[in-house]
Symmetry: C2
Subunit: 196 residues, 2 copies
DNA sequence: CACCACGAGCTAACAGTGTTAGCCTGGCTC
DNA sequence: GAGCCAGGCTAACACTGTTAGCTCGTGGTG
């Protein structure tokens, strides 16, 4: 990878229009609830409670629950993207086409992805599940978050396939859909091997 | 594969305890709503409306909305499983370890999976997303539905990895998460190739 | 200084949700 | 015929997101 490409991969994530301090507090409160008790625990009243105000007052600052969700989704994508970009940056020289290097990069990316998704289950699910309302997301954020897959595979098609496989593993593991006691580590390893 | 194993792969799906006619009508009504307007259109009142009764009357037949959902999930898994089992049955002799045959089987299975998931979006999402409450599902149904992956890959670990990759592609495509205009077909093909 | 505007809180209310309690009625059985 | 019970009903509760309209304090302006 060239020097400029390396810098580009470290680029800051696309930011949306800046939020007021109060909006940031609201999103932060929702996030605490999300991480502690899951999305279903987030209601306009519970969020308002955490701030010591009543639910209707929230509407002085945000348009509705959908906007709150969109803000959390954007945060989730930014954090996921930051983790993945950090991983490919750490991997050092990326334009090596040596097969062993490539396999190591794929393994590292998948490891980072898995750790991040499992450590931030509710945020990950929120950010990656269900239809994406692109119009309420900062421009280019989604593409930025997925770019590490492109950087590691060197090909947009393989990048999408690897991303989908990785996402599938993450959601199934998060949701406990693998049969109890099955060696999930090995399924991750098999995926890395298949795409290396 | 032995003859008995081939028969086993055609086995009928595990059935739960038989439902009364009225319960079947309730589930059918919910299913129509699900397919026409998505899960969020299903409320106890809308389901009851379709049957010409009031919502509380539903509770004479089913324990609650969760049980309704569980019945739909079981239906979804049975139908998905039937499609996949049909695919591997059609593929004929399955114990061939010829690489080309294997690749063709993987391609066929992924094609069937994709068609089924896209043609039954709401049911697919319902059956495969979110935590699975195994205790309310017929015993062995989940394992039965996933067995075609095992039959095609010949290995439980690779089966899980392939299943996860396939699921990832399906949900991302269903949810429109691939960048607009991107060649999703090729991502499916790349996945089949990676696991062949 | 007086005034006014506006930001940001409040209460009351509405329509919708899942669910429970309790009532009623028609048909089957003894 | 008497009684039971399956399967409907209404009323109600506690929740949800959201709107309308009021109030109060603060900052800027004539």
């Amino acid at each position: 990878m060239t020097d400029s490409a390396a810098r580009a991969s470290r680029d800051e994530p696309p930011q949306g229009p800046p939020a007021t301090a109060r909006v940031q507090q609201i999103v932060a409160a929702a996030r605490v609830l999300l991480e502690e008790h899951g999305w279903e625990a987030i209601s306009m009243r519970t969020v308002a409670d955490r701030l010591g105000i009543r639910a209707p007052s929230l509407y002085k600052h945000i348009a509705g629950k959908e906007e709150l969700q969109a803000a959390l989704v954007a945060d989730g994508l930014r954090e996921m993207g930051a983790a993945l970009h950090g991983c490919v940056a750490d991997a050092g020289v990326l334009d090596s086409s040596d097969a062993a290097d490539r396999a190591a990069r794929v393994r590292a990316l998948l490891g980072t992805y898995r750790r991040h998704a499992l450590a931030n289950g509710a945020m990950y699910r929120l950010a990656t599940s269900g239809p994406l309302r692109r119009e309420v997301l900062p421009d280019g954020l989604e593409e930025w978050a997925g770019r590490p897959f492109w950087l590691v595979t060197g090909d947009p098609i393989r990048a999408q396939a690897l991303w989908a496989a990785t996402h599938g593993l993450a959601v199934l593991e998060l949701d406990g859909r693998f049969p109890p006691g099955s060696p999930v580590d090995k399924a991750w390893a098999a995926t890395a091997w298949a795409f290396a």
